[in-house]
Amino acid sequence: MGRQPDARDVAPAVQRLRIHFAKRGRLRFTSHRDFQRVFERAIRRAEVPVAFSAGFSPHPKISYVGAASTGAASEAEYLEIAVTRVCDPAQVRSELDAALPTGFDVIEVLEARGGSLPDRIDTSHWQVTLNGVDPREAQVAVAAFLQAESIPVERVLKDGRRTLDARLPVVHLGVVGDLDATGCAILDMVVRHLTPAVRPDDVLAGLRQVSDLAPPLPPLVLRLAQGHLDEFGKLADPLAPDRDAAAGADPAVGIPATR
């Protein structure tokens, strides 16, 4: 017996499934790595026939797209899996949803009909709730933010401190809800994905910088949607092409993956 494993019969991927899920409630405290482990185990419990990479240390073929950071809730998380047997997307949705803990909720599963999922996602729509802040106060800060050309903020990244421009990727920023309410301001923001990414926390750091807006309590961050920002300033649903194809074409059986 040698060190290398015998030539492995790796079952080929015959279908790719795109999964839209939400991260809610206390599970917003999970990190992306936590979610990966939880998801891989749920795949096994639900007996979804996920494909594995070949080689010495096989990995399930799961591609994650732009995960929300630890502490943020999200209604719009996406990933793509490759499977070795053609599956009914609706059945995968219900089985995976049942296998995942409450809070990781599978909203929709569609067969990938070509195109690249990451290419359809370049912008996020966020809602940030600031408890202990009056909406009028927030509005003043937002106006100052939007007037600035650039707002350099500091963040600690893996490779040390970096200065990011918090203003640059912000397409829209506003205060929503009752402006005369007290003690709770809700921000609505549309932020393009850049590298390194500017997160809602960085926008808040920018608000603090331009007008000393300092929320007394931790902000509640929620991603409402992700997608491609079209020329009219709207976010396109990244799964729309797959959904349209599924509705128009034959049932999703036996169509080989395009990638």
């Binding site: 017996m1 040698g2 060190r3 599970l27 999970t30 007996e47 010495f56 096989p58 630890t70 809070g103």
Partner: protein, 626 residues
Amino acid sequence: MSVSKPVQYVGGELNSLVKDWAECDVRWCLMYPDAYEVGLPNQGVQILYEVLGELDGVLVERTYSVWPDLEALMREHGIPQFTVDAHRPVGAFDIFGVSFSTELGYTNMLNALDLAGIPTESANRTPEHPLVIAGGHAAFNPEPIADFIDAAVLGDGEQAVIAITHIVREWKREGSPGGRDEVLQRLARTGNIYVPRFYDVTYRSDGHIDAVAPNRAGIPARVSKHTLMDLDAWPYPKKPLVPLAETVHERFSVEIFRGCTRGCRFCQAGMITRPVRERSIDTIGAMVDAGLKASGFQEVGLLSLSSADHSEIGPLAKQLADRYEGTNTSLSLPSTRVDAFNVDLANEFSRNGRRSGLTFAPEGGSERMRKVINKMVTEEDLIRTVTTAYAQGWRRVKLYFMCGLPTETDDDVLQIADLARKVIQAGRTASGSRDIGCTVSIGGFVPKPHTPFQWAAQLDHATTDSRLLKLRDTIRTDRQYGKAIGFRYHDGKPGIVEGLLSRGDRRVGRIIKQVWLDGGRFDGWSEHFSFDRWMSAAAVALADQPVDVDWYTTRERDRSEVLPWDHLDSGLDKDWLWQDWQDSLSDVEVEDCRWTPCFDCGVCDTMGTDIQVGPTGRTLLPLTVV
């Protein structure tokens, strides 16, 4: 204002339980007194959690030690120690059960009690406070925490927690007559539950214990351990907890037997868990299947104190490997002895490809040392075993040793370097490759209660460290083999504190309290442990006593000494332990009673137990493969 890894506090693990508070009349909070990532996988807590959770009217939740960042926020905002399951305050439960597999969790227990709003001293608690009950291996000498706990359970916990539940339920239904004393008396009368407040310890002027005696009627003079017989009837965990956060063991573990009669003289676990009770091959097979389905884990660990000793380990390994072939499920055997047969087992387990490293534990560097500790492994055994391993494609072998064993000299430890050289030599010959390695991992020996070495002097930390450095230098300066030998060691200071807590008496409790007051937490973590804090706390706490840290650690005891745990009965006959201690000093070995006649260690006679081993000759039922 944020804490690191918040996911560890949110609960919501797969297979966790949240019952309705009002519909339950006995409520348990279980704690493993370490960080969540260490505590969550603990097998003991998971078993008791499930056993209790299955009982009607019983609520059970878990709590773990919070890191200092969260502790600071909790103290600032007045948030009490809470359970992860439903975030309820620990102080509201009926019973607070703390599992100690190591004594280094004692300060964490005090911190959790304090955060929970429960008085740290048992004597200051009122009927509204939970009963604080310790369990686990450290409970075989709970004297250092005698002032802080209300009771300790000796031995296997499955049936004990049920018995405690019944007693507490009965007492509550009667309207809690007689307060805490009454319910504790009822627990103490079972004979398996130790209630420190019902025993008085008297000391002689020289600091030695004079006597430990019950201070009221109806309390047994000695408390016996409880032994679970028939592991097949208790197939827990059935539904393992699957955490959201990353933890130290990410696998489904099944205990394939409990107890060990190899007779290694340093090993407290082997001494206090006798006799050997095997779980049968078909029960193990069914547990593995159900546990994987319920968890989605990718790895199965077959646990025990010496897993290759299961009477049907060969068929079990082969049949499990067959069953999971091609499913990306891996199998592991955490504790293995030096034996070529174990290489065959490891080959079977690594069929799916991962053939990284094998671990063996000769424990003693010289042949003489191994006779002293009764670890019957010859140099030829070891070389034959590693030769087989390297020949079959394994590239790294890890060897575990201890330093500071009784009668040890520098030379005994330096022989580890010779052994490692011979291992590399054999490996290069067997594999025809120079791309092989061996790692020597060595830690300080800590004498433990209820072992033949309970009388032994612990080696002081300075000598331990100097021996380890000599060994390191010998290995590093070896031109021919040095680069192929890795060396890992633990310095001697934490071992002295562990030794103090292991063989301490009630006076050591003052040191623990002082250390905690001085900020001591997470003593099992090198970045939090402070030897100086322990030593200065000991100087303060023992200032009016004729004893000091050395008296508890580096002092050899004589036969007549009353040991702090003498009133706690592990079943081992003290005369037999003494004889085994004397035998060790004259290099006399003792066999394993599973395949030789009984040598009268005393356990089966006094505990009414018997060895339960196979083979059953049964096979695993085939499973339908999806």
